[in-house]
Amino acid sequence: MKKFLGITLGILTAVGGFVDIGDIVSGSQSGARFGIAHVWVIVVGVVGICVYAEMAGRVTAISGRPVFDLVRERLGPRVALVNLLGSYAITVFTLGAELGGVALALQLLSSAPYLTWVPLVALLLWLALWRVRFETLERIFGLAGLALVVLVVGVFWLGPDVGALRHQALHPGPVPGETWATYWFFAIALFASAMTPYEVFFFSSGGVEEKWTPRDLVVARANVFLGFPLGGLLAFGFMVNAAVVYHPIGMRVDTLGQAVLPAGMALGELGIALIILGVFAATFGAAMETGLSAGYTVAQFFGWSWGKLRRPRSAARFHTTVLVSLLIGVAALLTTIDPIQLTEYMLIFSAVALPLTYIPILVVANDRHYLGDRVNGRLANLMGVIYLVIVVAAAVAAIPLMVFTRVGG
């Protein structure tokens, strides 16, 4: 029974942990502008993160080594250093966007401007990471993130035009007034919000800390193959609500208030309370994960002692890196850049950086020296190669599309 409970809690946590500010922004914006014409991208993204996380989880469970440790070992110090700088910058970028998301959620409940919340949220986050047992934190925020289900449920109260939605889903492409370039720009943003590198850093580092053995692969795979798809459903919730409320009247989504308003229209103040709790939990949970992942990437590259379960004094460099990353995230927000725009840029640069860590993991997952007979099977390699092509294509197309469409403008 205890194992079953472990699995269900793990899945629920993955659900809450999957959704972050990137999913909220890219989901609502694409829903407002294209209806649910991008729904296939969420499916591709969810399958992608399942393939990627399963490989990383298996590599970690068998070899006992986390992602960034292997990245340096496989690419050599110089190339891995470039990889580290890229991945670390993206992770801290994401941390800033998540903190901004938390502050925006709090602003909707209070009349204080979001910037006043940022330092307080950062302090709260650091205290949580420093003092509270991570297991409980992950459970609380993972489960609270489930409140986002209100979006998936609420959409039926909004009287959706199912025929139009089905038409959009089955005819992926730009609606009149939009171009293919903006369509593909939003597709890449959505794909990047589903396949976020920091999630795999966090997932595999957690595996090392909890000393996964091959026997734990069952629980790890359950988390991946059930948690992520459910998380994808929540991300779809934002898209379909925007598609029902904003798309028909040609409106766009530029603020968090607009992204969550549909829940209020559908279920009133209860809907708003739930959706804001969900957004707060999802973004705060993601801020914790990105904060730790920033520390993980640097510590694992240099070989320092690291870990959320290790007492701070025996991992001084790791904890200092997490603290510094937090301060950089806050500084990024205090430049008064709009967190929603910061998230848009973060998604594009995440797409560019994704191959840097995806390729080494795909290679190590085929290394008999490490995994013995648990190397990639034919299916895993087939999916791995398919997503290699997708990931590299997205990385190559991301920046040109961003410049050409002036960030989807």
């Binding site: 070899s63 070992e73 110089r78 590259f301 002692s305 001084a316 460099r317």
Partner: protein, 116 residues
């Protein structure tokens, strides 16, 4: 099976007896008969190895931070090598990493709750 220094040792994680991370193999020391005598870890060895402007800068930064010379782990302390280099000794017996000690001393130790 032949041991490849670059592939099997360099950039591999060193763990002590209890699995506590000691550092990465930033370089390997050979004696005059080209026998592997020690593993070198630390920012100075890393800086010197990647070379170039960045490498010199990392090495200089480490030198300023009281890391007089790279931490030297005699090769006979190595128990076996698989996905990581496992040592047969505990981390406390090895020279302490300068950056870790410095940060612990000046920052982490002062924050309440750092001990548990």
């Amino acid at each position: 099976m032949a041991l490849l220094i670059g592939f099997d040792l360099l950039d591999r994680q060193i763990l002590d007896r209890d699995g506590f991370p000691v550092g990465k193999v930033d370089d390997v020391e050979l004696d005059d008969e080209l026998r592997v005598v020690a593993l070198l870890t630390g920012q100075r060895a890393f800086g010197r190895r990647i070379g170039g402007v960045l490498g010199r800068w990392i090495g200089a930064a480490a030198a300023r931070l009281a890391e007089k010379e790279p931490r030297r782990i005699p090769y006979d302390a190595v128990d076996h090598v698989d996905a990581a280099v496992h040592l047969s000794v505990r981390a406390e017996l090895l020279p302490p990493p300068a950056l870790e000690a410095w940060l612990d001393q000046h920052l982490i130790r002062r924050i309440p709750g750092a001990g548990e």
